[in-house]
């Protein structure tokens, strides 16, 4: 429709972030190719970090003291919060380097990434979902499960899976 060309389009783009290199790659690719700086676009970029619940095995030492497990989980959550902060800072810096006027929001959630991502997409009426892909082969996918695969099948909005381009040597 010709009259929509000049109108501002407000889009909500949700980018899924974890500690891996692939999701940073996905974020920078998304910034480069999807959000091109046009003065009339007011996009909101939402960075979502989902922390899967980690299984903690409480270690019983010789004196059967189990108070260690509580300290261990606190320590773990502190570490992951710190990791998350680093990741978010890096992401925010990338965003600001490329675009000054894009709104960036961040979210951190705990739980299973697959379900959370689908829920959040519905709740926030996101326009597009961006995620990286670990590039697992078939066997790894069967064992580890693929978040991007599950989301691609269950999420209700368009989804962009960013892969790192492999060299054309045809491995795998």
């Amino acid at each position: 429709m010709a009259d929509d060309m000049g109108a501002a389009k407000e889009r909500k783009i949700l980018v899924v972030v974890d500690e891996s290199e692939e999701s940073m790659n996905a974020l920078s690719w998304c910034l480069k190719n999807v959000l091109v700086s046009t003065s009339s676009s007011t996009d909101t970029l939402i960075l979502l970090y989902v922390k899967p619940p980690r299984v903690v095995y409480s270690a019983l030492d010789g004196t059967c003291r189990t108070a260690n497990s509580r300290h261990f989980t606190t320590l773990q959550s502190l570490i992951s919060l710190y990791l998350f902060d680093c990741v978010i800072e890096k992401a925010k810096r990338m965003c600001r380097e490329q675009f000054q006027d894009v709104k960036v929001e961040t979210m951190i959630k705990h739980g299973d990434p697959r379900d959370f991502i689908c829920q959040i997409v519905e709740k926030l009426h996101v326009d597009m979902l961006v995620m990286g892909s670990h590039g697992y082969g078939v066997i790894k996918r069967a064992f580890l499960g693929s978040v991007s695969n599950h989301c691609a099948q269950n999420v209700k909005c368009p989804i962009l899976i960013v892969k790192r381009p492999k060299s054309a040597s045809g491995s795998k």
């Binding site: 060309m5 046009t38 691609a152 209700k156 368009p158 989804i159 962009l160 899976i161 381009p165 054309a168």
Partner: protein
């Protein structure tokens, strides 16, 4: 930017969505060049067995599937022109959609591949096979799956 199409409504929705989001906001200077791939299912998949009587039918069926493919191409071009996007390359290749799409992506070094999604459930996926699933695993570039919002 490569876009896989067949004759279904999700494909056309995906085409329109892509045009709206990646081409319209940029006016005359879009960052991508659009390449539409239409995979024509090979005749061997439709004709199951050979039979003396079928020899006459085969050219007719070929002509029919060529016409159908031509229809899709024309409709796609029309959609593009309506949105004001010119300079679109359309390729029609015979073969299984999954392999065709991955091959063309490799050949043209596309940076994004866009496909629609039929929204099959789990059972249908296993039985019919999902082109978007296969491409997402095997294509060497980023992939965008456009779904039609359910109402």
């Amino acid at each position: 930017m490569a876009l896989g199409m067949d004759n279904s409504e999700p494909s056309f929705y995906a085409l329109q969505w892509t045009l709206d989001h990646f081409f319209v906001p940029f006016g005359q200077d879009p960052p991508f060049k659009l390449l539409i791939i239409h995979a024509q299912p090979p005749l061997a998949s439709v004709v199951g067995f050979t039979d003396p009587g079928l020899v006459d039918v085969i050219p007719l069926m070929e002509a029919d599937s060529k016409k159908r493919a031509q229809n899709v191409v024309e409709k796609a071009r029309e959609v593009c022109n309506n949105t004001g996007v010119n300079n679109v390359v359309v390729e029609v290749i015979e073969g299984d959609a999954r392999n065709v799409i991955c091959d063309v992506v490799d050949r043209h070094h596309a940076s994004i591949l866009v496909v629609g999604s039929h929204n099959y459930g789990a059972m249908k996926r296993v039985l019919l096979g999902s082109v978007s699933d296969h491409c997402s695993h095997n294509a060497h570039c980023s992939m965008l799956i456009v779904k039609q919002p359910k109402h």
